[in-house]
C-alpha cells in the first residue's frame, strides 16, 4: 500500500466502489461506533475495503471533554475493533456527549479551563493506555460563545499535546466555521497550530443555518468543501507539509466517483508540495 495521502469518509453504500478503487495513497475513515456489532455485512464490507486500503478510526462517542472517565466498555470495544482492523490512525474529539449515563449524540462544547484541561488530560491518557497507541484529537466546530474560557482552543489543544503526547487532527472546515460563528481569525488559528503535532487533516463542507435569524454556519458534512476552506488548507500544508487529509461527507451523499473527484483535489495539493525540510532530514538520516 502507498503512503496514505488523501482519503474519504467511508459509508456502507460505497463499500464495493471503495474496495475496487485502485487510486494510489487512497485511504478511508469510519466512525468506530458504526461498526460495534458482532458480525454481518457491515463488518464484512469494511474488512473487504481494509484488505486493499489503509483505514482510520475516528471516534465520536468517548466524551473526552466530560467530567468523568471514558466508558470502560466502550474503550474495550474500540480496542477490539482496532486489533481487528489495524488502523493507521485513531482519533477522537475535544468534546463531550455523555452525562449521567445518557448520551446526547453530538460534539458538545465546554469552558476551556485549567480544571477541564486536567480532567481531559486524564481522559486522553486513559484512551491512549486502553488502545496502546497515540491518538489524535480533533477541534470541533463551535456554535456557542461561552463565558468562562481561560484559554483559546489552540492553546488548550497545544497544552493537551504537551501533557499527553497525543497528536492533533486538524479540521480546517471546523476552524473556518468556528471562527465565522464566534468571531475569530482562521488564518491566525492555523498559523498557531504546532506543525509537528498534526497527524491528520479534515476537510468538509458547511452550510448556512436554515433557522430564522440565525447568522451561523453549520458543519453539515452535506456539501462540497468551500473555496475558502480549500485556500486555508493550501496555506496550512504549505507551512506544515504533507499530512493524511480526509474529505468528510455524511449527508447528501454523492456517487463515489464524485467524492473521488473532490478527494483528488486534496491529493493534487499534497503532490504539488515541495519536499518538506523535515522529510529531507529524515531521508538524509536514513542514508
Amino acid at each position: 500500500m502507498a503512503t496514505p495521502s488523501a482519503g474519504l469518509g467511508l459509508k456502507p453504500k460505497h463499500f464495493r466502489d471503495a474496495a475496487a478503487c485502485p487510486a494510489a495513497g487512497l485511504w478511508f475513515e469510519v466512525h468506530p461506533e458504526n461498526y460495534l456489532c458482532d458480525g454481518g455485512p457491515r463488518l464484512a464490507g469494511l474488512t473487504a475495503v481494509r484488505e486493499v486500503h489503509p483505514l482510520s478510526l475516528h471516534g465520536v462517542g468517548l466524551s473526552l471533554a466530560g467530567d468523568e472517565p471514558p466508558d470502560r466498555a466502550h474503550l474495550k470495544a474500540l480496542r477490539r475493533l482496532a486489533d481487528r482492523f489495524e488502523p493507521f490512525l485513531v482519533s477522537e474529539h475535544l468534546a463531550w456527549s455523555r452525562r449521567g449515563g445518557a448520551y446526547h449524540p453530538d460534539l458538545l462544547p465546554f469552558p476551556r479551563t485549567m480544571s477541564a484541561l486536567v480532567r481531559i488530560t486524564d481522559n486522553v491518557d486513559a484512551m491512549q493506555t486502553a488502545l496502546g497507541r497515540r491518538v489524535l484529537i480533533e477541534n470541533p466546530s463551535l456554535y456557542l460563545d461561552l463565558r468562562g474560557h481561560e484559554m483559546s482552543e489552540i492553546e488548550f489543544l497545544s497544552e493537551l499535546v504537551r501533557r499527553t503526547g497525543c497528536g492533533l487532527l486538524l479540521d480546517v472546515n471546523n476552524v473556518f466555521v468556528s471562527c465565522a460563528n464566534l468571531g475569530g481569525d482562521a488564518e491566525a488559528y492555523l498559523d498557531a497550530v504546532p506543525a509537528e503535532a498534526v497527524g491528520e487533516i479534515h476537510l468538509a463542507g458547511h452550510e448556512r443555518d436554515a433557522r430564522p435569524r440565525s447568522p451561523l454556519l453549520i458543519d453539515t458534512h452535506g456539501a462540497p468543501v468551500a473555496p475558502e476552506v480549500w485556500a486555508l488548507y493550501r496555506r496550512l500544508v504549505h507551512r506544515i507539509g504533507s499530512r493524511p487529509t480526509l474529505i468528510e461527507r455524511d449527508d447528501e451523499l454523492p456517487q463515489f466517483p464524485k467524492l473521488m473527484a473532490e478527494r483528488d483535489i486534496a491529493d493534487a495539493v499534497l503532490q504539488s508540495l515541495a519536499p518538506h525540510p523535515d522529510r529531507e532530514i529524515a531521508h538524509a538520516c536514513a542514508q
Binding site: 456527549s97 448520551y103 469552558p111 456554535y143 443555518d209
Partner: protein, 252 residues
Amino acid sequence: MPALNDLAAFQDAFAGALIGEPTKLTPWLAPDETPPGLAVYRGSTTSGMIDALEANYPTVLQIVGRDWFRAAAGRFAAEHPPTEPSLLAYGAAFGAWLEHFAPSADLPYLPGIARLDRLWTEALFAADAPVLNACDFAAIPPARLPFLRVCVHPAVRWAVFDQGLPGLWLASRAGDSELEIEDTPQAMLVTRPATGIETRLIAPAATTFLKACVGGKHLHRATADTLARHTEAEVSRIFAGLIGAGAFTALR
C-alpha cells in the same frame, strides 16, 4: 451560582438546556440573548437520535410517513435517550413504547410492525457463522439424523402473530401500496445466508420446531414437540424449508 470552571455543573446545565430548560446555563452565556447556537446543538442531538430510529424502523416510517414518525421518535428519544455511544441498536424499546403512545391508538398493528423491524436489525448485526445447506444434511445416515441436534444460526430471528402482520410487513417492505392484514395467524423468519438478509413467511408450526432446536433438543424430540402442538404440521417440509432458508449453522 456554580463556578464557571465547574465542568460537571456546566454539563448538567447544558444537558438541561438541550431539553428546553436553559436557565441554569445562564452564567455561561452572554447576557440578554437567546443564542441561536443552542438551537443548533438541540437540533443535532435530537436529529441524531431520530435518524438512528428511522434507520432501525424503516417499515414503521413507511407506514406512518416522515412527519408522524419524526414527531413520535422525538418524543421517544426525549424519554429514552441512548445509553451507549453506538446508535446501531438504539431504540430496542420503541415498539413497546408505541403501544402506549396515544396517537398510535388508531394504528394497533404498529407495535407489531416495529417488532418485525427490530428482528431485521438484530439479524443484520448478529455474529457470523457458517450456514448448513441440504448437502450437509444429505451426508448424514438417515437413521442417525433424528438423534442429532441442529444449532440455529446466530442471525436467525422469528416471530408469530395471531394476525397477518408479517404479510403486511413484507408487502410494505416490497413497496406495495395495497396493505391488508389477513385474519389468520402468521409467522415470519429472518435469516442471513451469505447473500444477505432474507425474510419470509413460515408456518407457525415451524417456530415451535425452531424453539425446540434452540432449546437443544434432538431432532426427533423437536419433531414430536411440533406435532404435539400442531397436529397437521408437515415437519419434514418445515425442516427442509428451514434448511433452504439458511436457518442452521451446525449439527452435533
